[in-house]
């Protein structure tokens, strides 16, 4: 077990905890860099998909896991990012410009949605974002002049400084680079006043206000950042699927994003990535066992969405910390071995808080 001795304030604001972190994450990044040389195209493509979902997961994690605001409309932000990027590309604008523009434009959309929905929380916010999602979905279908409607939209090949980044490997490396950038940004945010304001809003709005946090300003900001990151994921998603259809960005996709956040573990960036891996692997796992399932369950329509729903409910009931919580508990078990007790992972009961001030 490692003991951390803090001798310097700089240690507290570092992005990593200790040299072990640097080593293991460095090793992980190096492994990811060489994987396309080792594995086949199919696996590289699937991992690209995981990276894209992890980016969106990090975006939603900032909103749900750290600020405590729910959104069931993030598929719409993914769609906005995808269409903005593709439409601009088809007008001959280079990918190095369309990618950030897609992110920024989606962030502005997020701020525009965040602003009026600020007064809501919980279920009401979920409903508002849900209806926003379906409005945007309808716009994608009906605005045929721009999106092509149900005829779809073929995404042009992107070039980065003259080099084509098409194919599974291109998407893989681009998505990984964007994921690293997004993680770096999120870690910075979380160790800065903005990140602490987010946590404050999540845990107690009334005292956040009394500590000088402008609720409306920060909620809008976080909504914008979250939407912007999802927009970046959307731009990459367009190249991942190569052909945009408006019905790809429906409620089910939003529910998948929420699943990423909850199954991965609320309030943890690592959780967002673990959740993305889980959500991308589940359909593959279903595909493998589909034919071997008894009573023809495997051929039932709606098997996948119902499994997502079931898992979401089970995780919320029995493993509120998600995969990340499970990982932390396992780590504790090994660190404390053989002194793990029944109560080790349990938190103190929470004391009554005043419901009058909300």
């Amino acid at each position: 077990m490692r003991y951390l001795f803090r001798t310097n304030y700089k240690q507290d604001i570092r992005a990593w905890r200790h040299s072990g972190d640097v080593f293991w994450y460095g090793l992980l990044i190096a492994t990811i860099m060489i994987i396309p040389f080792v594995l086949g195209e199919f696996y590289v493509g699937e991992m690209g998909g995981v990276f894209i979902f992890a980016i969106a997961g990090v975006g939603l994690m900032l909103l749900v896991g750290y600020t405590g605001l729910i959104s069931l409309g993030h598929a719409a932000f993914l769609g906005i990012g995808a269409y903005v990027n593709s439409v601009l590309l088809s007008h001959g604008i280079p990918f190095v410009i369309t990618l950030p523009v897609a992110g920024i434009f989606t962030a502005i959309c997020g701020a525009a949605i965040g602003r009026p929905t600020l007064r809501m929380s919980g279920l009401y916010l979920a409903i508002a974002t849900l209806s926003f999602g379906s409005i945007v979905g309808t716009v994608f279908q009906k605005w045929t002049a721009v999106t092509g409607g149900f005829d779809g939209f073929a995404v042009p090949t992107p070039y980065v400084f003259g080099v084509s980044v098409e194919g599974a490997t291109g998407v893989y490396y681009t998505s990984f680079a964007v994921l690293l950038f997004v993680l770096w940004m999120s870690i910075n945010l979380l160790r800065s006043p903005i990140g602490r304001a987010m946590v404050a809003i999540r845990d107690s709005e009334v005292s956040a206000q009394s500590m000088g946090i402008h609720l409306a300003k920060y909620k809008t900001l976080v909504f914008a950042v979250s939407a912007g990151i999802t927009g970046l994921a959307g731009a990459l998603f367009a190249h991942y699927v190569r052909f945009l259809a408006p019905d790809a960005f429906d409620v089910l996709l939003s529910v998948q994003f929420v699943t990423i956040v909850f199954v991965g573990g609320l309030g943890s960036l690592r959780g967002a990535i673990l959740g993305a891996i889980f959500v991308r692997l589940l359909p593959q796992a279903i595909a493998i066992v589909r034919d071997d399932l008894p009573f023809g369950i495997g051929r039932l329509p709606g098997l996948e969405p119902s499994l997502f729903g079931l898992i979401l409910v089970l995780v919320i009931l029995f493993q509120p910390g998600g995969i990340n919580g499970l990982w932390l508990k396992t780590k504790l078990w090994f660190q404390a071995f053989p002194f793990k007790r029944q109560t080790s992972g349990r938190r103190q009961k929470s004391y009554a808080r005043s419901e009058r001030l909300r």
Binding site: Y9, K10, D12, I13, A15, M185, N188, L189, R191, S192, P193, I194, R196, A197, V199, A200, R202, D203, S204, V206, S207, A208, Q209, S210, M211, G212, I213, H214, L215, L221, G267, R347, Q348, S350, Y351, A352, R353, S354, L357
Partner: protein, 259 residues
């Protein structure tokens, strides 16, 4: 007379109930001013009016010569008024250190972009905040809990952390809402010493809502007694405690029985 805070005829109505009914009081710089009264007398409501969570129906609030009657709630901390809550409103899923650092929020001036990129300006500011927080940790003896989640701290410590978080805003005026509620005798005594230290060492003016009369008489310079939103009595702790109206409000009908 150097009044740091002044309430002029403040009232608030919730529907037909006058929770606070034209209350006026002045708090001088460097004093500890206690507000007492039976349950539902409007003590906490006065705090919520001062920290601008509720709007006053009538009257005026003056702080440091400035009219704050209509200032938005999030500006109050920046002006120099910090508060604690009766039932503890800490950020439960954050560490003690993070909680205290949130108390520094009203002093953060670094722009969004340099926070996102964690530029040197933000790094310097963070270290300055951290130093200030460390002073508070030392003042309140919280060293051993620095990296503990609030959810894992016992109730008594949470009370002190909330006091610490308020101190981190470097307030001129501190509003303490029942600092001793839920504490045992020993912890209450400790809280009393800290409140005295806050006044003497840090020179912070304190307004305190409190039920524990021993604590009130130990630390207060002046006391105001409320009942049904109206002022019953004002003066030194002894004067107020022996005031016939106050006795009647607490114990009930003594003078009526006599009459």
């Amino acid at each position: 007379m150097t009044a740091l805070f002044e309430a002029k005829d403040i009232s608030v109505r919730f529907g037909g109930i006058r929770a606070v009914d034209s209350v006026s009081f002045e708090v001088e710089k460097g004093e500890i001013y206690s507000i007492i009264g039976p349950n539902g007398a409007g003590k906490t409501t006065i705090f919520n009016l001062i920290s601008r969570i509720y709007n006053t129906t009538d009257g005026q609030l003056l702080f440091d010569g400035k009219d704050i009657t209509r200032s938005p709630a999030y500006t109050i901390a920046g002006l120099g008024i910090a508060r604690t809550f009766q039932n503890i409103e800490l950020f439960t899923n954050a560490t003690l250190l993070q909680n205290l650092l949130i108390g520094r929020h009203c002093h953060s001036t670094v722009g969004y972009l340099s926070q996102i990129a964690f530029l040197p300006s933000n790094r310097r500011a963070e270290i300055q905040h951290r130093e200030k927080v460390e002073e508070v940790i030392e003042f309140l003896d919280l060293q051993r809990y620095r990296t503990t989640l609030i959810a894992n701290l016992p109730y008594g410590v949470r009370k002190v952390v909330e006091l610490g978080r308020a101190l981190c805003t470097e307030p001129k005026l501190l509003l303490l809402d029942e600092p001793s509620s839920g504490l045992n005798v020993e912890e209450t005594e400790g809280m009393g010493f800290w409140i005295e230290d806050i006044k003497k060492d840090l020179g912070i003016t304190v307004i305190m809502v409190e039920h524990d009369m021993a604590l009130v008489s130990q630390v207060s310079d002046r006391v105001m007694a409320l009942n049904y939103g109206k002022v019953l009595a004002m003066g030194t702790p002894h004067e107020v405690q022996t005031h016939p109206e106050v006795v009647r409000a607490y114990i009930g009908g003594e003078s009526e029985v006599d009459a």
